[in-house]
């Protein structure tokens, strides 16, 4: 009896090793699925591609912004605290919230 168990175990181990040797890719896939069990069935599918197509999206809605400005009339729109980087809740994003993108005023260091 005790002689059979180690044999079965080593046969399984051998198959696992074979799988790893013949397909390191499949071993990596198993690792990934173990870490993220809810990972979608279609990895290269629409979700991934659509995310790629939406690169650069920042949340500023000129309609919301102007409506909020109109409502507040003379009052100032609440601006995010300086340390807040995310816009959440009732806070309407303002142009000031968007990260400042200035063109490079400095010459490239390749030309230095």
């Amino acid at each position: 009896m005790s002689a059979e168990v180690p044999e079965a175990a080593s046969a399984e181990e051998q198959k696992e090793m074979e799988d790893k040797v013949t397909s390191p890719e499949k071993a990596e896939e198993a690792k990934l699925k173990a870490r993220y069990p809810h990972l979608g069935q279609k990895p290269g599918g629409s979700d991934f591609l659509r995310k790629r197509l939406q690169k650069g999206q920042k949340y500023f809605d000129s309609g919301d912004y102007n409506m909020a400005k109109a409502k507040m009339k003379n009052k100032q729109l609440p601006t995010a605290a300086p340390d807040k980087t995310e816009v959440t809740g009732d806070h309407i994003p303002t142009p000031q919230d968007l990260p400042q993108r200035k063109p490079s005023l400095v010459t490239s260091k390749l030309a230095g």
């Binding site: 390191p24 591609l49 650069g56 949340y59 809605d61 063109p103 490079s104 260091k109």
Partner: protein
């Protein structure tokens, strides 16, 4: 040494001794995002070398002429011109940030003293004219020497202006701006062999432009599905054939390449040829499609072949055979057992480029750890070299590098686990006629030459 006897074609990648020539850029540990080089391209004669960066700037280097009094500087590339090509924009209507990063630069063939190049960011292509001025006019009638205009009625006598030499000034002027034609992000531009038109490709569409006309472009490929939920693949790269002005190819995120003939129909949605390597279904994994995505496609100079780069390999295809590539070269197969972590840190989505040498006998592409790889197609030998400041003495030979995939690491080998994945060589270029290569390592540009040069 292969090719040494014949005229014209320099030997391929491996009978050569590659040596350090120059390095450009700062030595800072902290690299500013803007300084990351995003494209490198030699001009058609190789005397100019252009780089673009994430800060939207273009720097052009010019090769020094042979000069007897300074023999060591022969063949050195020095700064010729630098300008801000693109600036960051914000599209308030779509809530989209438009990066100023230069995705591609392509030179136009030379037709006059001035030089022309196309540079593009995600949305806008610009045609730049780079011209030299080494004379200025003195003794103008309507202008003072300092440029102030004179009142014409005060001019009583006419004189002929004299041209006097001045210090060379290189000016870059935007001559055309091709805007508002791309909803998605431009990944490629390619000048046609007719020297009149060029294509620009984004994730879902390819447009054809005339270099003189900015308010109109023709859509020649459109793979956008009616329902975006059905989207399964995007265009990753596109290029015109080097000699046949009616032929173009585009690659996809699914690892396929389509060749289109503009003579067959106005809209090239139906390909003329479809190149795909058959896959063994039993070896399919979660990563298969992602690593098969083609990040670059380049025709050979001869026009007979094309080369594609996917995550782990470079493939050479014969245009006459669609069923499979004629050559497959492994770039860094040892990464196959690291795909899980490369997916987690997003490196699996890195887009490496590839290039041919002037006579198509060798190909080059980048890897991680500032390594780059060269494959000689005639001898079937390959070599791994490193772009590093540690090996930057003038004319110092580059030592081949080796990566140890597992097991006992030999002396001088680098183990896979100690590779620096933040040091990626995505952009490389090979001089069109000589054995001179330009390698972009993040914010530094390395130039290497064959010792025989």
């Amino acid at each position: 040494m292969a090719g040494a006897g014949g005229g014209g074609c320099p030997a391929g990648g491996n009978d050569l001794q590659w040596c350090f020539s120059q390095v450009k850029g700062a030595v800072d540990e902290d690299v500013a995002e803007a300084d990351v080089i995003s494209t490198v391209e030699f001009s058609h004669s190789g005397d100019l070398l252009a780089t673009g960066d994430k800060g939207g700037r273009v720097v052009i280097f010019q090769r020094e002429q042979e000069n007897k009094s300074r023999p060591h500087s022969r063949g050195e590339y020095n700064v010729y011109s630098t300008f801000q090509s693109h600036e960051p924009e914000f599209d308030y209507l779509k809530s989209l940030e438009i990066e100023e990063k230069i995705n591609k630069i392509r030179w136009l063939p030379r037709q006059s003293a001035a030089r022309f190049l196309l540079s593009t960011n995600d949305k806008t292509i610009k045609l730049w004219k780079i011209s030299e001025r080494d004379k200025r006019a003195e003794g103008c009638n309507l202008q003072d020497e300092d440029g102030r205009l004179r009142d014409p009625s005060s001019v009583t006598a006419l004189r002929v202006p004299i041209l006097k030499p001045m210090d060379l000034m290189v000016e870059a002027n935007p001559r055309r701006i091709f805007a508002n034609a791309h909803t998605y992000h431009i990944n490629s531009i390619s000048v046609n062999s007719d020297h009149e038109t060029y294509l620009s490709a984004d994730d879902l569409r390819i447009n054809l432009w005339h270099l003189e006309i900015t308010d109109r472009s023709f859509n020649i490929v459109d793979i956008k599905p009616a329902n975006m939920e059905e989207l399964t693949e995007v265009i990753t790269a596109a290029e015109f054939h080097p000699h046949q002005c009616n032929v173009l190819v585009y690659s996809s995120s699914k690892g396929t390449i389509r060749l289109c003939d503009m003579r067959s129909s106005a809209l090239c949605d139906r390909h003329s040829k479809f190149f795909e390597e058959p896959e063994d279904p039993s070896s399919r994994s979660f990563f298969s499609e992602i690593i098969s995505s083609v990040s670059d496609v380049k025709f050979s100079h001869s026009g007979r072949y094309m080369m594609t780069r996917d995550y782990l390999s470079v493939k050479v295809w014969d245009l006459n055979m669609e069923s499979r590539p004629v050559e497959t070269h492994q770039v860094h197969e040892y990464l196959r057992s690291k795909l899980c972590s490369l997916y987690e840190n997003d490196c699996i989505f890195d887009k490496f480029e590839c290039c041919w040498n002037g006579c198509d006998s060798a190909i080059m592409t980048g890897s991680y750890n500032n390594f780059f790889r060269m494959f000689d197609r005639t001898t079937w030998r390959d070599v791994t070299l490193e772009a590093s400041r540690e090996n930057s003495k003038p004319r110092a030979s580059l030592k081949p590098r080796r990566v140890c995939a597992g097991g006992k690491r030999k002396k001088d080998e680098v183990s896979v686990d100690s590779l620096d994945f933040s040091k990626k060589i995505l952009h490389t270029a090979w001089h069109p006629a000589e054995n001179i290569i330009a390698v972009a390592a993040t914010n530094n540009l390395y130039i290497f030459q064959d010792k025989a040069n």
